[in-house]
Symmetry: C3
Amino acid sequence: MKVKNIAVKSKSRTEFIDITSEIQKLIDNEGIKNGICFLFVPHTTAGITINEGADPSVQKDIQTLLTRLAPQDLNYLHREGNADAHIKSTIVGVDKFVFIEDGRLVLGTWQAIYFCEFDGPRHRRVVVKILSDD
Amino acid sequence: MKVKNIAVKSKSRTEFIDITSEIQKLIDNEGIKNGICFLFVPHTTAGITINEGADPSVQKDIQTLLTRLAPQDLNYLHREGNADAHIKSTIVGVDKFVFIEDGRLVLGTWQAIYFCEFDGPRHRRVVVKILSDD
Amino acid sequence: MKVKNIAVKSKSRTEFIDITSEIQKLIDNEGIKNGICFLFVPHTTAGITINEGADPSVQKDIQTLLTRLAPQDLNYLHREGNADAHIKSTIVGVDKFVFIEDGRLVLGTWQAIYFCEFDGPRHRRVVVKILSDD
């Protein structure tokens, strides 16, 4: 299939947005039974991660710790005030894949897929491409 | 091929387990000559990395440094005592791919594939899917 | 296609080298129209990331921050003086994929693909494999 875009709208500077059900919906719409779903974030101050979907405090802890590692106000060379967001993007990464079996994303019990905003609020997107086995 | 599971059993809270030969065995059994091997960890307090396989002190140094970055006893919101493990999982990542050529994993001289346990000991698994060129 | 190697030559201990145009050239030469380009770094003291390609100070900030997180002179077990480089490799990662549409890499406006040297200067390589839709 051709690549598809999923629109994401963040409301804070730092925010994790659960996109699992949107991606599952896309798989349903495409009628994919088995394959691999590839996800790519075309931004340099955002990322994508797969982590705990049950307790929302986990995503908060991850965000807080990343800010501890890369504070916004260090003496950065980049003068746009978002060097920290670029760094978090490289640490977390912008690409991720998930298997598809019997029409469902193959995720662990506690896993959810998160778009990671590090320099919001902004209109963002996730680019998706699915390789089908069939 | 359908996804396969590789069972992993960790014995410590933090531990890197070399799964390279297990994955090579799977490729042998499937008779794959050329393609890509995709590896996915369906857990939120574990990860997967590819790093030095010769000197075991490297994996210890990585574990120690990650604990320095995300200590277990910070003032986390998540109350299960393993917020640090979730954070390490996001930093290291849960998905990884390796090429296959002439029936062998395409790894550098010093590279080995490690399952990264951050909240063991536990019974874990790695989900594997291989795309064959043929 | 079979895997191809892109040669990379670093000149400093820590350095990000923009390999976007080299990869685009490979796609042009192979005549790939639509698919996925998989990139793999077969080294344990280097990595690959996708980040800002416009302002060179961003890559400097990322390098500086990573060194702040993993300084070269900590009390590491690994005695070769490059434990920090191994750690950075695991944090940044050694595998990355980018979609191809209409013969072009699908990157965001500001994105460039960087080989990340953490223990140079050295002769390095990036292994590339492209899955074509056609």
